[in-house]
């Protein structure tokens, strides 16, 4: 575990621009200043409201002034912002950012053999009394990844079963979990995630259990309140934190957030809210355009998923034997199905439904391309911006403190060299809570897949980071030696050392594989990586275990 954490921190340091993350072994220095001045920029205060060549003054975490003709105060660090674009920091409607995955336990093997007929709340995945704030880890690398594409705040929820606990809104920066938290207990989080091997296992049972819990919670609340008024002669209500946690939702004060996987789950959540009367928020919504009327009737807060089905070029190849006509028909169907996903945001906008976005199932690297696809499918840039800023702020009840570039709000800002949604726009600064992260402009956009004409050096010692659920394999070291163009190497991981002879480099594309024993079978592990300077990225596939993302950086020469 230590090794894993260390790897994370290392990579944080590598990925991070200067400014944040200046830990290390030296004594911690306070920042030189907490006042920043951005001048001569297009300040997009809110969707459609732009100050041409204006300024923003940030002090002690807040936006102190916005407007034209501001002067940089003496204590300010003046950031280069000429002709750049300043937006309010983006707000993620629902995710697990900053909430590390718990260690795998053996749950998957439960359920056979002796059955558990009356599982505990915990075993059943019913943990409403928990709060995500107790699980936050500022080191989670997902925080910096999301920040790097402009997200500055997120409504985060615990991981778990059908009712994993209470969510909170956090800022995506800061080295202290306590300072990250903006609002605690903002939501009760629910999902259609059954317990393995015990009740509730299917969505059927989750629906029923939810109704039962909610009704019991109402009963428990009434009982407790009557008992508090006049205990004498009344049976004492049992202490029950799980039921008590529903109280604010019963009072209409706290939304129950459902992350839904598909339109059917969305309807299930709508059904529960309609029956039981609690305030509802829906996250990870897909195909919402097929449910406009029920969505409108529900009054639910809506967060559309920023995860889209992979674009065509990446989609798996079809079987080869179909006739041309059949192939065309299948492709037409597939394209239509794809469009259902891409045009959701535009169609909802057209229907007048307000929405934000959520990223629970989205990968950071896909989010900007996905936004681009939605815009191509008819969403306007202002609508997209509203869904990233003002609307989620409003839906999370935080419009007073975030969502726009206005005086008095938390200094969460995104600064780009071109309009955010323009092709090739680079993010230059992201301010979280008044402190900036700075980003270098990448010299050249990497071509995908690989650039056969690129000239790169493969030799050296590479620290890899593999997004694989096996700890031993998560942070191996790859050593490559180049003898007159002939590459060889070895991969050292927690699973041992593997020598690699079949390494090949074409342009910037490095591929190699080796075989190993795993789970009683021989597994071929193959890597397909693209090298860019001293960093690389790509994927590792390991037979039936699947395919995993790989990132890495070259150890500086000693």
């Amino acid at each position: 575990m230590m090794k894993y954490l260390f790897g994370c921190i290392c990579s944080l340091l590598l990925l991070l621009p200067s400014g944040l993350g200046a830990q290390g072994s030296d004594e911690k220095r306070p920042p030189v200043t907490r006042t920043f001045f951005l001048n001569n920029a297009y300040v997009v205060q809110s969707p459609g409201k732009v100050i041409d060549l204006g300024s923003v003054l940030i002090r002690d975490g807040l936006i102190q002034a916005v407007g034209k003709d501001l002067k940089a105060p003496a204590d300010a660090k003046v950031m280069k912002a000429d002709s750049m674009y300043i937006y309010a920091g983006f707000i993620d409607g629902l995710s697990n950012l900053g909430v590390p995955k718990p260690k795998e336990d053996d749950r998957s093997n439960r359920g056979r053999g002796q059955r558990e007929y009356n599982p505990s709340y915990e075993r059943a995945g019913i943990q409403t009394e928990r709060s995500v704030v107790d699980m936050l880890s500022p080191e989670d690398k997902a925080l910096s990844e999301m920040r790097a594409i402009g997200f500055t705040a997120a409504h985060v929820v615990p991981r778990g079963g059908m009712l994993p606990g209470q969510g909170a809104v956090i800022l995506l920066g800061g080295d202290d979990a306590g300072k990250m938290i903006v609002s605690e207990g903002s939501s009760l989080f629910a999902q259609f995630q059954g317990a393995s091997g015990v009740y509730p296992n299917t969505d059927m049972a989750i629906m029923s259990k939810f109704r039962e819990l909610y009704t019991q919670a109402r009963q428990h609340k009434t009982h407790s309140e009557s008992y508090a008024k006049n205990a004498r002669g009344m049976s004492r209500p049992a202490q029950n934190d799980v039921l008590a946690a529903f109280g604010e939702s019963i009072d209409g004060q706290r939304a129950i957030f459902f992350a839904v996987d598909g339109i059917k789950e969305m309807h299930r959540a709508l059904t529960l809210s309609k029956e039981l009367g609690f305030p509802l928020a829906l996250a990870e919504v897909t195909m919402g355009q097929k449910a406009i009327a029920p969505l409108k009737a529900s009054g639910a807060s809506i967060f559309l998923t920023l995860d889209l089905p992979k674009a065509k070029a990446e989609a798996k190849k079809g079987e080869k034997e179909e006739t041309d006509e059949e192939k065309m028909m299948l492709e037409k169907q597939r394209a239509a199905a794809q469009q259902l996903h891409e045009e959701q945001a535009a169609m909802l906008s057209k229907s007048g439904l307000a929405f934000g976005f959520s990223t629970l199932n989205a990968k950071a690297k896909d989010i900007r391309p996905n936004l681009e696809r939605m815009i191509k499918a008819g969403l306007t840039e202002d609508q997209a911006l509203a869904a990233l800023t003002t609307t989620p702020a409003q839906m999370l009840g935080l419009s007073d403190i975030m969502g726009t570039v206005e005086k008095g709000k938390i200094a969460n800002l995104v600064v780009t060299d071109q309009p955010y949604f323009a092709k090739g726009a680079n993010i230059r600064y992201v301010f979280v809570d008044g402190m900036p992260s700075e980003y270098e402009v990448k010299k050249k956009k990497k071509k995908k897949p690989g650039d056969p004409d690129a000239k790169v050096m493969a030799a050296g010692e590479w620290n890899l980071e593999i997004d694989v659920p096996m700890e031993q394999m998560a942070t191996p070291t790859l050593t490559i030696t180049d003898e007159d163009g002939s590459l060889s190497g070895k991969l050292v991981s927690g699973m041992g050392t593997n020598d690699i002879s079949n390494m090949s480099l074409e342009g910037d594309n490095l591929t190699f594989s080796y075989t190993t024993e795993g789970g009683g079978q021989t597994v071929t592990v193959s890597f397909d990586l693209t090298i860019d300077g001293d960093s690389l990225e790509g994927s590792m596939s390991a037979g039936s275990f699947g395919s995993f993302d790989v990132e890495g950086s070259r150890e500086p020469k000693k």
């Binding site: 034997e321 028909m329 037979g543």
Partner: protein, 427 residues
């Protein structure tokens, strides 16, 4: 578990007695509409003698023959099911009553005929529907073993054996085995490739084994180790024993056709549920097909709902020789309905009828004995009151190899016993 098996065996033999004995003799079917299948429809008489069709004509008479008035009735050749597990599986969820699936992958030495249980309760249930002859198939692995053609009458497998055997092969495929098949596409492809390698190795080794064996015949000094696998494959590799290749996905069918051409085996394609996709290629290769079930699900979610019904007809139209099978065990009796659906969905009644009579006989090279009503052929036939593919038609009397079959089965006997139950609820 043992107790259960004993119990099953007991009940099975009991019911064989209950169903009654078949009778052999001479039978003269008078004034019938005789649907010969190969020579049109004939009004007249049909004489069964010594297990054969002795004569067809009008005004026939035969001394000593039992005369059966068939006025207004029809006579059809017994139906032949080109692929079943009948006799090999008694109760599919009780594993100890299953004899179709031996362990292992390459098992050419296995004989399905050995395990055919003549007392299987499903046999009388099947034959009273007019299905007189079926192929009993072993299952599982690359080479499940040898299938055998059986008549549905007899007290021993040998008595039932109808003179045809074929080796079975499950052709390698990278198709998913079902929704629960979690293997990646890549892994399925790898497994397929591995199987292909095994086949090549098996063929090469068999050829060498056969060569050494031939040499041994003239040279007593040559020793050859006991090798039942290769021994069993020799007639297949040499193209003498037919190979029934189970293959369903269109890509696999094409690859099977290529492989057949390369190896020169005497092949029949079975299953062939996506045959309609590549019907022209099958026709061009002139490889016969035994397809079914017809009444089944489309193989892909995107397929038109009626593909399985239409498959046989589409292949036939493209020029493929098509027989129909039920691929069933206890409900092989549905065979005429499979043909009926194929008929309705484009094959036409005449072709569909042939697909369960003369065509399977031809595919097995038994067209001189089975599959139509012609003088000299085996007396496998039945009398019915209408179109036997039609659901409501009653099959009135079945003959198999000239045996007059008792028209009882567990199903009809339970009907007889319980229709008006005695003692009834109120006596």
């Amino acid at each position: 578990m043992l107790v259960l098996v004993v119990l099953l065996m007991t009940t099975a033999s009991l019911s064989a007695q209950v169903v009654g004995k078949a009778t052999k003799g001479s039978f003269l079917l008078k004034n019938a509409t005789i649907e010969t299948v190969t020579k049109g429809s004939v009004k007249g008489d049909l004489l069964i003698k010594d297990g054969k069709i002795a004569d067809i004509g009008s005004g026939l008479s035969a001394t000593g023959a039992k005369e059966i008035d068939c006025t207004g009735k029809f006579v059809y050749p017994g139906f032949i099911d080109g692929g079943t597990n009948l006799g090999l599986i008694e109760v599919s969820s009780v594993s100890l009553t299953q004899d179709a699936r031996e362990g292992g992958d390459i098992k050419p030495f296995l004989e399905a005929l050995t395990a055919v249980n003549p007392s299987s309760v499903a046999i009388p249930v099947t034959r009273v529907s007019g299905v007189t002859t079926v192929i009993a198939m072993p299952e599982g692995g690359l080479i499940p073993g040898k299938a055998a053609l059986i008549n549905l009458v007899g007290y021993s497998p040998d008595e039932m054996y109808a003179g045809f055997k074929a080796m079975r092969m499950n052709f390698p495929s990278s198709a998913a085995r079902g929704r629960r098949d979690r293997r990646s596409e890549e892994d399925r492809k790898k497994a397929e490739e591995k199987t292909f390698k095994e086949i090549t190795k098996l063929w090469d080794e068999t050829k060498l084994f056969a060569k050494i064996k031939a040499a041994k015949a003239t040279d007593a000094s040559i020793m050859q180790e006991y090798n039942p696998t290769l021994e069993g494959m020799i007639p297949v590799v040499e193209g003498k024993l037919p190979l029934f290749i189970e293959v369903n996905r269109s890509a696999d069918i094409l690859s099977a056709l290529k492989w057949i051409k390369k190896t020169g085996v005497k092949a029949v394609l079975t299953g062939v549920s996506e045959g309609w996709r590549v019907a022209d290629s099958i026709a061009a290769a002139k490889i016969p097909v035994i397809t079914g079930p017809v009444i089944g699900m489309p193989t892909r979610q995107s397929d038109r709902y009626d593909r399985p019904y239409a498959n046989a007809g589409l292949m036939a139209k493209a020029g493929v020789t098509v027989a129909i099978r039920s691929n069933d065990t206890e409900n092989v009796r549905d065979l005429p309905f499979h043909a009926g659906f194929a008929a309705a969905y484009g094959m036409g009644r005449e072709e569909a009828l042939k697909a369960i009579t003369i065509v399977p006989a031809q595919i097995m090279g038994l067209e001189d004995r089975l599959g139509s009503l012609e003088v000299g052929k085996d007396a496998n036939l039945f009398i019915c009151d209408g179109d036997p593919l039609e659901t409501k038609t009653q099959i009135e009397q079945v003959f198999i190899s000239g045996w007059e079959i008792p028209m009882n089965s567990r199903h009809s006997l339970l009907y007889d016993e319980f229709l008006d139950r005695s003692p009834g609820i109120k006596n």
